[in-house]
């Protein structure tokens, strides 16, 4: 049987005296969309960065596609990273490259596509996130929402099996946010992509995720469907739900 794409056990991470994650256990199944919620500073973004090896855990294990990433050499880690897309909170576009060059960046380095094929793929990726013009603009010349969409196109460039989204809808208008949500679901429907979506947006999480995991003070407070959360008697969960309503 194929192992779950993401398996995390007893994951701990501290910054100085501050314990951010205090022993997280988490399994995300193939094709599942998991939303991770929690207040600011509860380690949601840190969790994503640990999953892709951008930060090192203090303790615990992370298995991506069956491989423990702690034991991987840099080359092996990079091979794993090619299978994982990452959308950063502010897009993290390379500000010395145009929009098209940003999306082409991973393709140029990890594929043998011809210039014309690469250009075609870049345009298709940008079209899939709702961008059909201004490809030669610089990141500083476009809006925050557009930057996020370009970042998403870049995250999807290598056809990843897993995509990690860090606040994909934050700062977006409701229509664009809904489009991003639909795109996350479309990735699952068309390519069975596994997604973890860090968000503050309970409404969005309800609509596009299969399961919601709520972090509080470095621990998992609750994990389940939106209905499970609604049944919870925990005042923190109730407050989150009421604020989102």
């Amino acid at each position: 049987m194929e192992p779950a794409p993401i398996v995390v056990k007893e994951l701990r991470k501290s910054f100085g005296e501050q314990q951010v994650l205090k022993g997280i256990d988490l399994t995300v199944n193939k094709g599942e969309i998991l939303a991770v919620l929690g207040t600011s500073g509860t380690g949601k973004s840190v969790l994503l960065k640990l999953l892709i090896g951008l930060q090192q855990p203090d303790a615990g294990s992370i298995r991506i596609r069956g491989e423990d990433i702690a034991g991987l050499q840099m080359d092996q880690l990079n091979e794993m990273r090619k299978k994982v897309g990452f959308l950063f909170q502010e897009g993290a576009l390379y500000d010395s490259l145009t929009i098209a060059e940003n999306v082409a960046f991973p393709l140029r380095r990890h594929t043998k596509l011809s210039d014309s094929d690469r250009s075609e793929k870049v345009h298709a990726l940008l079209a899939s996130v709702g961008l059909d013009k201004d490809f030669e603009k610089m990141p500083s010349d476009i809006s925050g929402g557009m930057r996020k969409r370009v970042g998403l196109a870049r995250a999807l460039a290598l056809d990843p099996e897993i995509v990690l989204f860090d606040e994909p809808t934050a700062g977006l208008d409701p229509i664009t946010a809904a489009e991003i949500g639909k795109l996350i679901q479309k990735l699952r429907q068309e390519r069975n992509v596994t997604s973890i979506v860090v968000t503050h947006d309970m409404h969005a999480a309800h609509h596009f995720s299969d399961r919601i995991l709520m972090l509080k003070e470095g621990n998992i407070l609750i994990s389940g469907t939106f209905e499970d959360l609604e049944k919870s008697k925990d005042p923190f969960v109730a407050q989150f739900l009421s604020d989102a309503a």
């Binding site: 005296e17 840190v46 990273r81």
Partner: protein
Amino acid sequence: MATPVSAATTPVQPSPDPLTLAIEWFGELGVFCSRVAKSLFTLPFEWSEFIHQLDAAGSKSLPLVALAGAATGVVLSLQSRASLTRFGAKSMLPAMIVFSIIKEMGPIITGLVASGRIGAGIGAELGSMRVTEQIDAMEASAVNPYRFLAATRILACIVVLPLLTLAADAAGILMGWVSNTLTEPISLQLFINRGLSGVSFSDFLPPTIKTAVYGLIIGTISCFQGMRTRGGTEGVGRSATSSVVLSSLFIIVADVVLVRFILVFFPA
């Protein structure tokens, strides 16, 4: 990345002493250098980025370096004329200007000017990339930032510093002649012939080549300071400043050591 540590909840910690900080800094610099060195032996080499950096560090620094060299030539000429005349050695002025410029003034002026122009640029650029998660995004795209960002910039600095030194030397000698000839007309050919009459291969090449070491220092320190930036835009400013200050400091120290080496291997 948003720092996950809340200021309100973080206990106040005593600041580490300067010695501990220095040891930590050198330790991190060692790790950084080993990663960059390792990345140099991993294919493919980022040629297009390297060429872009040659342009950024080289041709864009050329006017400033040439201007600094020219000013040095003028000042040497103005300052030395009276002294040499007093000792009846006025005819030695061309040789004095050429010797001073090619042996020490040109290289050190180029190193210090480049540490300001190139070092600040690299420190600020990589610092900005760090705080806006662009370096994280590069790693997440399975691209080694030590190879793509650091190795290309360090190699570009190593290559361009000797070339910039040649430009500074040429501008210094030329403007030394201009300054001299305004007071006492002399042909450029005669000025250069007199200036170069006592100059040997060992007077010219080692001081010029030693600036490759300055390039190594500027590239390494600036990339290191930039890539370890923390703390938003304020941190970017700190990285740019520290890149210049530390590069200049290490260049001055390296200059003393390298001059001693040159004197050992190429005795006057």
